[in-house]
Amino acid sequence: MQQVKDVVVVGGGTAGWMAAAALAKVLGTQAHTITLVESEEIGTVGVGEATIPPIMQYNKLLGIDEDEFVRETNATFKLGIEFIDWRKRGSTYFHPFGVFGANIKGGVGFMNYWLRWVQSGGDPDYTHFIAEGVAAGEGRFARVPPSSDGQLPRLNYAYQFDAATYAAYLRRYAERRGAVRHEGKVVDVEQNSETGYIEAIKLADGRRVSGDFFIDCSGFRGLLIEGVFKAGFDDWSHWLPNNRAVAVPCERIEDPTPFTRSTAREAGWQWRIPLQHRTGNGYVFCDSYLSEDEASRLLLERLDGKPLADPKILRFTAGKRRLGWVKNCLAVGLSSGFLEPLESTSIHLIQIAIMKLFEFFPQRDVNPVLIDLYNREMDVLYDHVRDFIIAHYKVTDRDDTPYWRYCRSMTVPDSLAAKLELFSDRGETRWMPSDLFGETSWFAVLYGQGLIPRSYHPVANALSEDELELAVAGIRTAIRRRVDALPSHADFIEGCCAARPAATAA
Amino acid sequence: MSEPLDIVILGGGTAGWMAATALASLIPPTRCRVRLVESEEIGIVGVGEATFPEIRNFNHAIGIDEAEMMRATKAAFKLGIQFVDWGFKGSNYIHPFGVHGPVGMDHIFHHRWLRARSLGLKSELQDYSFAAQAARDCRFELPETRSTALDCAYTYAYHFDAGLYAVYLRGLAEQRGVVRTEGKVQDVVHDPETGNIRSLLLESGETISGDLFIDCSGFRSLLLGKALGVGWEDWSKWLPCDRAFAVPSERDELSPYTRSTAMEAGWRWRIPLQHRTGNGYVFSTSFIDEDEAAASLMRSLETRALAEPRMLKFQAGRRLVNWEKNCVAVGLAGGFLEPLESTSIYLIQVAIMQLVPLLPGKIVDPRLRDEFNRLIDLQYERIRDFLILHYKLNTRQDAEIWRYAAAMDVPESLTRKIELFRHSAIIERYRDGLFPPTSWLSVFIGQGLIPESYSPLADTMPGESLISHLDAFHADLLDRVEEMRRHDRFIDLYCGAERATAPTATEMRL
């Protein structure tokens, strides 16, 4: 059985360099070659600037020092996403990282006790019961281990960074470890006549790069996965109509908030991602309801600082490559599918593809069973993330524009419909280990979007009323104490991971 | 509850038939079946011919029509008991079934009377008791129940032929489903494990089994005492009488009260019924022999004797508990207190009416049994103490029994009561059992215990007002008594033996 020796990554950017850096760390370049082919000409998308906590596993895999990484990428910390105007104009809710409350003896999740408590007159703002939410609201942050009494876990967070800088950082990492970069545009692909496997790619300048396994990070085009293997595309635009994004950085005018903000607009939503050196902004929208020019204009109007560049337009279609892995080619990043960055999932999907590649790492002769497993697992992940994002649109009271009226009334996938029904009944979401978004996330978003459960798990009634009050008050106090001990986000960054001036070049 | 409880009553007479009728009337056959075993051979005691007002509740509960019952039992009304020569020779007081003084003021009235006495008023406490005055004057009317007028200041009981009462009840009981078996018990069969009584083996060979046994076998206490071995608590040191002679005599004046006359070695009763008078002498063989006692009784009769005197033997005391395992004693099988205050039928009634709500299932719940025993204990003790009081509170030097009684040690609880009344004219009240304060008051005062003082709360009215109030009340009382029908006339109209139909309301108002 012949081993895969030569791995070729087609395309740079976040996807390509995440793949290359991970390969360089895990496979190493003593017995393998890792080659990445990218073209400066082809711009990288660079809107994927906020992340979710699993990225720490990726960084840990690579042995990246967090403080160094934060410095190098002008990163700030992220405790969650603030959603403004999503339920209705004037509403706000927070989707935090972290868990809701703490375990109350009894064996059912805290949200059930909280629902019971709210029904008997308690405060219907759940943010008070999530430490990350309270800290975010007060602009505080620090790395916090689990509490000594075991009542509260560590403070959960992710990063907000400049994706281009991240890619550059990873490129340095990968090249230090022996990955080789080729500058060039792919013009042709050589396949084995019998097996159909890709054997080499040919660049515009005539070079030929051969390999045993190819990772397609070529973006929306899917040069290999679609161009060669015609994997096909599942179009999800009937559920997720947004197909444009206009992005523009602006001046940082205040201390960076330790969270991303997403504000629902007339035909989509606007992101605001604070970095150490500037703020990233964008308007994700559907061009059937709003023109690109109008969207750009509106975005510029709504910036809270001076724009630092011209607005850039991206065009996309929500959906997924029907097969992410065909023969000896794995699509990673935009080539495998696109879901709008509403819940900062883009980098995560890249990361998962890479992690699964290591899990399923093939022989030269790829076992179709591995391909099948991989594709099915990725399907499940994509569907899950898709459903989660759709929920933000479907569950809303907004009906003030045709766009929202469409979203509100559209039919949704059966899987999501079932979840909404169960939640509406008793605030539960049946969580599977493969799910990315857990109970806390679904609860935060669905409740925040206005879906108030009719009841809750009956076991929550077994607690006497006074014990419930004490438990709820106790958790609230413990969270309050934890957050009170945190410094401000800006002070924290200043203390350990402020970017050096050299790194602030745009 | 699937199978009904099988209840076997051993013994007839008042106890047995009261129990049988009550159980059959109050509890449906789905819940219990009642069987009564009696023998004509075994004589019924039948001296319990005067009763206590509670009997009316019993009759009402089992749906007995008063007039009909009175007709069947040749009954007359009873407003109280007259005690003659008790305490001192020449005493003559009535223990009334009613309060002294106006209704609602009974807790303070005697204090006021004592004060008035100290200011010179010459009157008897009795003068202010409606029931006592009516009784003395041989008058009777049914009391009103809802007002504070004189007319509701009393209640009443009956004099009746207990034998006829038992017969009357038997008729009702058998109508209501009680099965009577004639027979004498030869042996009692126990359950080997629990010791419970399983069945009775009759001389005829018949076996009567049951779940619950009611022992109405009289003094012999065949089940509770003999078969289950429940011990006896003897009270004869306080109540030395151990015999009674009973003899009927011709009908006399139909006075609405029992008379009890203290004698040389005990006391004599006189109970007037519609058809005859019941007489008896309760005495102690420690102080007189049987022949002398019989002779004394016959000499004292006021009308012609209708039979030879019959003697009964007994001892004052009670079984240590009245409910043991699955056997409940009712009547003499459970204990005996002389009929000085007509409490025998009362004790039967109390046992039955406490048993009914606590009736066990096929397995006896000891909690129900313990509660029953506790309640019966209270009843016995309270009556016992009151009876002892009659004996203790005396200054007679003329006979040994009285000297003995005056000197004897009595229960601590009774001593306290006597001393407190002597000092402060205070009478304790309690919830359960007999006797109400008005009864204690009548005996204390009637037998010569005049308190040394009275409550200062009686001092709040000016002296002259007080006396004139009392005089006015007494006068009103006498007027009202005079308006009452005569007792014998009332009896004729209400339930006379000759009556074929019940009296009409108008007749009763005449």
Partner: protein, 503 residues
């Protein structure tokens, strides 16, 4: 005849002292007996409130106190009962309603019909057959026009300081001689108080001294043989905190008692505030920790005026020694779980009147008073103890302890007979009657295992009709009752603002 009582001196403060003085004024001053009060410093704080049982109305009537004044001057709120929550963990709360003896049904106690009904599938809770409990839940006051007969009554929550002031004013106007002072010493010879020496040197002498000084027991505490028998082994709570919260709107018709980990929290609505009382075991939690948890447990913010004190529960071996009679808390003391505090004072005073000594030389009335007061104390203690014994808060050491500990025979007997047959054996000197104990036991989940067999003689149709009729009657009666706010407003309308003379 020995020398009569000529002078009675009441030593104490607050409601007990003035209640005693008013009662004496009414009953004995007409007999020429002088009544004097030595007024010790008050034990009351502004947060203190009284919670009174309906029977207190009888006392007010006898001393001539117009009850409308309670509503206009003492911030009174009428309550038809107390609601107990969380004593059975997560089971629903129950109300102990202030019912008088309910009318029989088909000649038997209605409770027996209910027990059988329950066994046969009747789902309606027992509480719905209590007129007072239904009224309480509906926010209504069991008050009826003079001619109507209601078998429920209302108690009330009162501002303690205002009530005391009201009684004081009326009693002084009625002619009671009173002097403010503190006790420097008490001269005792054998079992007699010869004199009470005040701080200003006055030697106060009397034929009879009434100790109305509350837990201070300023007089009885010094008398021979009157030491306290503690009830700590059964009643573990030994701390009490009193605070205020803002007034509830709308005013409920009941007080609320909620159990928690270390004891219970009471909320007593008054017109201008809610009195918050916490009674707890000081060995299980500190005062500070409790105060921190209190807003969550009371479900409302707590004012900053909380007062904490020790609570000791027990009864004096003798409440009347020689010429010294103790009333109220000087005689015995219980936590305010069932609101009997003023009732205890009232009962002691009533018994004192009934047993008023006929002479100044000897006091044979005293042992009877002792026995009566002890019975009163034991019965009340048992009622309170039953709450703890019947708790169903499992897996909490404090509550497990209360449930597992054996109780005195007097209470065990009540529990046994009630469990066996749904009957409540009552002793002499019971504050609470059958219907109160039934409400307590059934409310805490104690279900009788069988019922009076006479119930089986009632045909099924009639049984159902009786049950239905009882429900309907209660609904009808409650509908006609006034809501709390309207009742208070009505009382205000007729109000006197001036306290006339009492006694």
């Amino acid at each position: 005849m020995t020398r009569r009582i000529q002078q009675v001196v009441v030593v104490g403060a607050d409601a007990p002292a003035w209640m005693a003085a008013a009662a004496l004024l009414r009953s004995v001053s007409g007999a020429g007996i002088r009544v004097r009060v030595v007024e010790l410093p008050t034990l009351l704080q502004p947060v203190d409130a009284h919670s009174a049982l309906p029977e207190l109305a009888g006392f007010h009537h006898r001393i001539g106190l117009d009850e409308d004044l309670l509503f206009s001057l003492c911030k009174a709120v009428p309550v038809a009962g107390r609601r107990f929550s969380n004593w059975s963990g997560a089971a629903p709360p129950f109300i102990h309603g202030y019912d008088r003896a309910p009318p029989p049904a088909a000649g038997l106690g209605f409770t027996q019909l209910w027990i059988k009904g329950r066994q046969n599938g009747l789902r309606t809770d027992f509480e719905n057959f209590s007129l007072a409990s239904v009224a309480a839940k509906a926010g209504r006051v069991p008050a009826a026009p003079k001619d109507a007969e209601l078998h429920a009554a209302f108690g009330y929550n009162l501002d303690a300081a205002a009530y005391s002031a009201l009684l004081r004013q009326g009693t002084i106007r009625g002619g009671v001689d009173s002097k403010v002072g503190t006790i420097a010493d008490v001269e005792i010879e054998g079992d007699r108080i010869v004199s009470v020496i005040l701080d200003d040197g006055e030697r106060v002498e009397a034929d009879l001294f009434v100790d109305a000084s509350g837990p201070r027991a300023a007089l009885i505490g010094r008398m021979p043989g009157a030491d306290v028998e503690s009830w700590r082994e059964w009643l573990p709570c030994d701390r009490m905190l009193v605070a205020s919260a803002k007034a509830l709107k709308p005013l409920p018709a009941f007080s609320q008692i909620s159990a928690f980990r270390h004891g219970w929290i009471g909320l007593f609505p008054l017109q201008d505030r809610t009195a918050v009382v916490a009674v707890y075991d000081g060995r299980e939690t500190s005062d500070e920790a409790l105060l921190e948890d209190l807003p969550a447990l009371a479900k409302m913010p707590i004012g900053g005026d909380a007062i904490v004190s020790d609570l000791s529960q027990g009864v004096r071996r003798r409440a009347w020694v020689g010429n010294c009679v103790a009333i109220g808390e000087s005689a015995f003391s219980l936590e305010p779980l069932d609101g009997a505090q003023l009732h205890i004072v009232h009962y002691c005073i009533s018994q004192l009147m009934t047993l008023f000594p006929v002479g100044a030389g000897a006091f044979p009335e005293a042992p009877l008073y002792d026995r009566i007061i002890r019975r009163l104390a034991v019965n009340l203690r048992d009622f309170q103890l039953a709450h703890y014994k019947l708790n169903r808060r499992f897996d909490m050491p404090f509550w497990d302890g209360c449930r597992d500990a054996p109780v005195p025979e007097t209470l065990q007997r009540k529990l046994d007979v009630f469990t066996a047959r749904g009957r409540v054996p009552l002793n002499d000197d019971e504050t609470f009657q059958e219907q109160d104990w039934e409400s307590l036991f059934i409310g805490h989940g104690l279900m009788p295992q069988s019922y009076d067999p006479r119930v089986d003689a009632i045909p099924e149709q009639e049984h159902i009709a009786q049950v239905q009729a009882r429900l309907n009657d209660i609904v009808g009666l409650v509908e006609a009752m006034p809501p709390v706010d309207a009742f208070i407003a009505g009382a205000d309308d007729q109000r006197q603002t001036e306290m006339t003379a009492l006694g």
